[in-house]
């Protein structure tokens, strides 16, 4: 088990280097960053700035410096806000995480019971209805779902605010929007992994022992169905953060996603790089945690 953990940790470091390389590439492919920073300056000033910022150095040297700067938390100053990019991103992080966790919790609390019920009553009307909802949910563009919810609850019924993040009521629509995006995928996994274990011998044995149906499902079947769910929920996290970026834009939620989208429109690359890197870092960490949890949950690896 220890060697497995070490191998995972090594891979974590390699992946992080790869992530920095991709983040670095964003600015590289954009052409000339200096002309974005000072569009009206004379060419001589731009050349001086280019030299002093090291844009004339060979790419590998620039990349090494970039990694060094990242390690110290320095992504450069925002072209637009004229202050360090990373703190701007980090200040908006709690909002995005709250939205994401809210949506994930909502998704799981729907996906697990509905998925179990679907698997237990396979091919029932309930199961077919759930499958239909899954298909609809995975086919809806998340920003459109958000706008339709605004139309219904904020414009027609006037029960919830259109946008913002000031009150608890304002969290409802963004959270629900993001949840409609992630619930169908999770529900599908819960259903299929439950179906896989529900007819196995040990579940039948548990039933034969006279254990109550409820206990059989929760204790025997669900614990074994949980493994794929944990992996998928981890992989989902990246998707969910991508969805959060859109949701924040639709509802004007002051999170990292909205900051990045705004920065992209202004070609403010330090913010874009810092935001993309931080979000990727979170995904990498969540996946690492999932790997470790997987090792812990899977006795086949644990006992080795």
């Amino acid at each position: 088990m220890f060697t497995v953990l070490v191998r995972r940790a090594v891979r974590l470091v390699v992946v992080l280097v790869g992530v920095s390389l991709v983040t670095f590439a964003i600015l590289q492919v954009s052409g000339d960053p200096v002309s974005l920073m000072m569009p009206e300056a004379p060419e001589a000033d731009r050349a001086a700035l280019r030299q002093s910022m090291g844009f004339n150095d060979p790419i590998p040297v620039q990349f090494a410096r970039f990694v060094g700067n990242i390690a110290r938390g320095d992504f450069g100053n925002s072209f637009f806000h004229r202050e360090p990019a990373l703190p701007l991103v980090l200040a908006r992080m709690p909002t995005t995480l709250l939205l994401t966790v809210l949506a994930m919790a909502l998704s799981l609390s729907i996906a697990i019971p509905v998925g179990i019920a679907s698997a237990v009553r396979r091919n029932s009307t309930f199961d077919h209805a759930a499958t239909l909802v899954v298909f609809l949910g995975t086919s809806m563009p998340v920003f459109w779902t958000g706008i339709m919810l605004i139309l219904l609850f904020a414009v027609q019924l006037r029960v919830l605010p259109v946008s913002g993040w000031e009150s608890w009521a304002a969290l409802v629509l963004p959270g629900a929007t993001l949840a409609t995006f992630s619930t169908p995928l999770l529900l599908r996994i819960v259903r299929s992994s439950m179906l896989e274990v529900i007819n196995l011998d040990y579940v039948r044995t548990a039933r034969a022992k006279g254990v109550s149906e409820w206990f059989v499902i929760c204790r025997h079947a669900l614990t074994n169905a949980a493994l794929p769910l944990v992996t998928v929920a981890g992989l989902q996290f990246g998707l969910l953060l991508g969805g959060a970026v859109i949701t924040e834009t639709v509802f004007a939620v002051p999170g990292v996603g909205r900051l990045i989208v705004g920065a992209i429109r202004q070609l403010d690359f330090p913010i874009v790089q810092a935001g993309v890197f931080v979000l990727a870092l979170i995904v990498v960490m969540v996946n690492f945690a999932v790997d470790v949890l997987y090792i812990y949950l899977n006795p086949q690896i644990r006992v080795r």
């Binding site: 992530v19 492919v29 298909f135 563009p141 605004i150 970026v245 834009t249 639709v250 979000l279 990727a280």
Partner: protein, 302 residues
């Protein structure tokens, strides 16, 4: 996922076995009403995209200030000339949606082609060569998986400058990793099979083994995956357009129509609603067809 081989039994003529196989797949496919409905919707969307200039009732860019905010025909103020109403500058919504189908389908199909070429090649190499090549390729896959795909696409499309070609390439290059993982897993399972061993024994070169024996056996997964990926690419393109880094031209796209309609949602609900329904129906149709295709191509599902 089908791990069956394409090699026919010895006593049946090759062509005949293929035909039988195809008709079996076709029968399994048409037995499902949902998939048939999906295929029909898809035909309508493809038809609209191909013949857009002929079937659209109006010029999608033509503005008319007296006709702005005309509601759909079935509402009280609706007019029959604009069945789905007009937008804030009086352009016909239905015509814009018909033209928008072109962008969605072009991006969906070509982005997936890019992903397919990159992903399948890397997957074949990874599974066949194993060792260091495999480790290197799988590390790249891990790195790609670490980014929210949409965010990465957003950053690179903006950095490269929005255009149709940029969107296709960026979506293609951010969405290939699924092909690599699936093809690699299949090749790993297949390479131990007897027919691969037999090919090697009669002196087939590694390239020939890879292209003539391993690759064809991954086709059914690739077809299913590609169908579902087209749906994903259409959603991603719509999201990019919505967030303002679209094709960079005035040509209508569904995502852009929703983005513009969003500001008028309280006065003209039809502006964002219909283009969204177009995306929903198209993606749903593709998903239904793809899902059924998976069962039809899987020899284990009767």
């Amino acid at each position: 996922m089908a791990i069956g081989t394409f090699a026919p039994p010895l006593d049946v003529p090759r062509g005949l076995a293929r035909t039988a196989e195809r008709s079996r797949i076709w029968r399994k496919f048409v037995r499902n009403p949902a998939a048939l409905i999906g295929a029909l919707i898809l035909l309508v969307v493809i038809g609209a995209a191909v013949f857009a200039p002929y079937v659209a009732p109006h010029d999608p860019t033509r503005q008319s200030l007296i006709r702005r905010f005309t509601p759909p025909v079935w509402t009280q103020a609706g007019k029959a000339v604009h069945p789905l109403g007009t937008d804030q500058v009086g352009r016909d919504i239905l015509s814009r949606m018909i033209h928008g189908a072109r962008v969605s389908l072009i991006v969906g199909i070509f982005a997936v082609l890019v992903s397919l070429i990159v992903g399948v090649t890397l997957g074949l190499l990874s599974g066949f060569l194993q060792g260091r090549v495999d480790t290197a390729i799988m590390t790249v896959v891990d790195v790609t998986l670490s980014f929210p795909q949409l965010l990465l696409a957003l950053a690179f499309v903006a950095a490269l400058g929005p255009s149709l070609l940029t969107i296709i390439i960026v979506l293609g290059l951010t969405g290939w990793e699924r092909y690599t993982r699936v093809v690699r897993a299949e090749v790993l399972a297949l390479r131990e099979k007897d027919f691969v061993e037999a090919a090697r024994a009669i002196g087939a070169s590694p390239t020939r083994t890879l292209l003539r024996h391993l690759l064809p056996n991954t086709f059914s997964s690739i077809i299913v995956m590609s169908t579902l990926q087209v749906a994903q690419a259409i959603l991603q393109e719509a999201a990019l357009s919505f967030l303002g880094v679209g094709t960079g031209s005035a040509y209508p796209t569904w995502g852009q129509m929703i983005a513009l309609g969003r500001d008028f949602v309280s006065v003209a609900w039809w502006l964002p609603t219909f283009p969204g329904l177009a995306i929903l129906l198209t993606v749903l149709a593709i998903n239904l067809v793809g899902d059924r295709l998976r069962d039809a191509l899987d020899p284990r599902v009767v």
